[in-house]
Symmetry: C2
Subunit: 338 residues, 2 copies
């Protein structure tokens, strides 16, 4: 099949690789109808994560079941499905506790930017859409494989509540989905920290009541001013850098919470500050499957439209240009169509 591969920092190719095959009786093979590039794919692209040269890359896709293993009961060839980027059995103790991203049978989509992808634990992981999504919902359904549930997880972890205040640090696709999540959860003031006009626009469309363009100390001061000098109840850290974490903690009120979903790179947690201000911290890899049914329903009844984060759609063969566009922040999020 044709698949996107990474060979070194900055070296993305689309080339012929072996088709994925059923390896375990709980696996399924999905023919990808749409995949996309994740902000976290930029870590190896920028040389900040180790790379296995020639490996396929991409963990977000939707598509049609092509083949299932002998133990798969709930899906069959022809079913249109959402593939959560982390696969789970949805039955183990961790899954039952809502930590599907720590399932004892955890798997990951390894070729989401390709023609086919293998799904481990198909019954536990996949969610059927009930047929081919209408054209105008396709992007939003694709956003359910990672960014929307990840933004949602940030909001859950931060403790966003009806009538409360929230700030979102990071204006990437996940951060924007965090704004949308906080809005659905009923936060009264939602402050998006963003310097880019096109992203600010989407943040506003997603429910941001305020936009703060300043960063660091100035940004923190502005958020405090908006919140009567107190800080926010809930901060969503959607970047993963030390600066973003420090900002999130800096804007949070005593007794408030920080939800973090940016993969931490070089983050040092200021435990004394957390202690002195009783600020809670919770986050991690989103348990996508846990949120998927609820979020799919919100997409299908058109309550939310996370697909707005896709501002560039390319044929699969142009994946290298998609990476460049995201790396240079010319695009928020890129859809790839095989």
């Amino acid at each position: 099949m044709r698949a996107t591969t990474i060979h070194a920092a900055g070296d993305i190719r689309v080339e012929e690789v072996p088709d994925p095959v059923i390896k375990k009786p709980t696996d399924a093979i999905v023919k990808v109808t749409a995949g996309c590039i994740c902000g976290s794919d930029l870590w190896p692209y920028r040389g900040e994560n180790p790379i296995r040269s020639g490996a396929t890359i991409g963990h977000e896709c939707i598509g049609i079941v092509e083949e299932v293993g002998s133990e798969v009961r709930d899906f069959k060839a022809g079913d249109y499905v959402v593939v959560p980027f982390c696969h789970c059995d949805n039955t183990c103790a961790n899954c039952q506790a809502g930590a599907q991203s720590a399932c004892v049978n955890l798997g990951m989509t390894a070729s989401g930017q390709a023609e086919y992808a293998r799904v481990n634990q198909a019954d536990g992981s996949l969610v059927a859409t009930g047929g081919t999504p209408p054209d105008d919902l396709l992007a939003s359904v694709l956003a359910l494989t990672d960014v929307m549930p990840t933004g949602w997880h940030a909001a859950v972890c931060a403790g966003v509540r009806k009538g409360g205040t929230a700030v979102v640090v990071g204006d990437g696709a996940v951060g924007l989905c965090g704004v949308l999540a906080a809005s659905v959860m009923g936060a009264e003031k939602i402050i998006a920290m963003s310097r880019h006009e096109s992203r600010q626009e989407i943040a506003r469309a997603f429910g941001a009541t305020h936009v703060v363009a300043a960063r660091g100390k100035d940004g923190i001061a502005e958020v405090r001013e908006i919140t009567d000098g107190i800080g926010v109840d809930a901060a969503l850290e959607c970047v993963g850098t030390d600066e973003a974490m420090k900002t999130a903690i800096g804007v949070t009120r005593p007794g408030g919470g920080v939800g973090f979903v940016g993969v931490p790179h070089g983050v040092e947690l200021p435990i004394r500050t957390l202690f002195e201000r009783n600020i809670g911290l919770r986050g991690g890899i989103a348990p996508v499957r846990r949120y998927l049914p609820e979020l799919l329903a919100l997409v299908q009844d058109r309550t939310i439209d996370p697909g707005k984060v896709f501002d560039l759609t390319l044929p699969l063969e142009e994946a290298p240009e998609g990476y460049r566009a995201m790396d240079e922040r010319r695009a928020i999020k890129v859809m790839l169509q095989p």
Copy 2:
């Protein structure tokens, strides 16, 4: 008045110092009937915190109101009161959000091991006992000034829930109160990590269902075995060292929570582990006033008896011996009677 003072690491004295006086109209002076030594007093005693030579020490006491400032409305001379170690107005935005330990008018008891103590924000801070406590409740009422609400805060922050599992790291007075808190909150399995027989005994009396004496990796392995290999829902970190924090995180299941109330000394948080296992972290200085009414009621109806943590009572003049006994772990917690 006679008061306990600290002059250098290991140098505790009882000497004559000026009586505290009303400085602000919201202050009150309390004649101390009983005070005590806190595990956190051992930090300066051991030279691990800076010391102002000759300063009074001690932040836990109960007693009788001696005098009130002109703006104090709810208390008068003669009222028997519990003095939370951190004083608050109980009306500001932080107090209303349950973060009384970050009150905008925060104060601290500065001479709890003495004959008199000043309380800032008397109306917001003090809780009346409704008369002199019966002799057999005195120690438990005294425990409400800090250790019991702090153990309770650890349990709240860790997310202890009915039917869940909890581990308590630290067998000091706060840790033991954490066991008691987890028990009141209905945890089904409560694992106390303790190597000292007398402390294990109190832990069991407070509701511990299991005791683990091993530390580090072995201790973590034992806790995992008790919890079917999964780890606990809630871990209470009641020490403040890096080892204790690593143990607390190590025994917590994916999606579980760590509540930390030990004043952090040299703790480095492993953010990648927290991220990969979606472990929440919340803690800090206990908002004592928030919990006081509920805990006082539990003491007065004899549901809880946190006073069991006092295993040595000395006259105030023998405070130096009290410090030695706690430092050498000959005593769990020492009551001082002026």
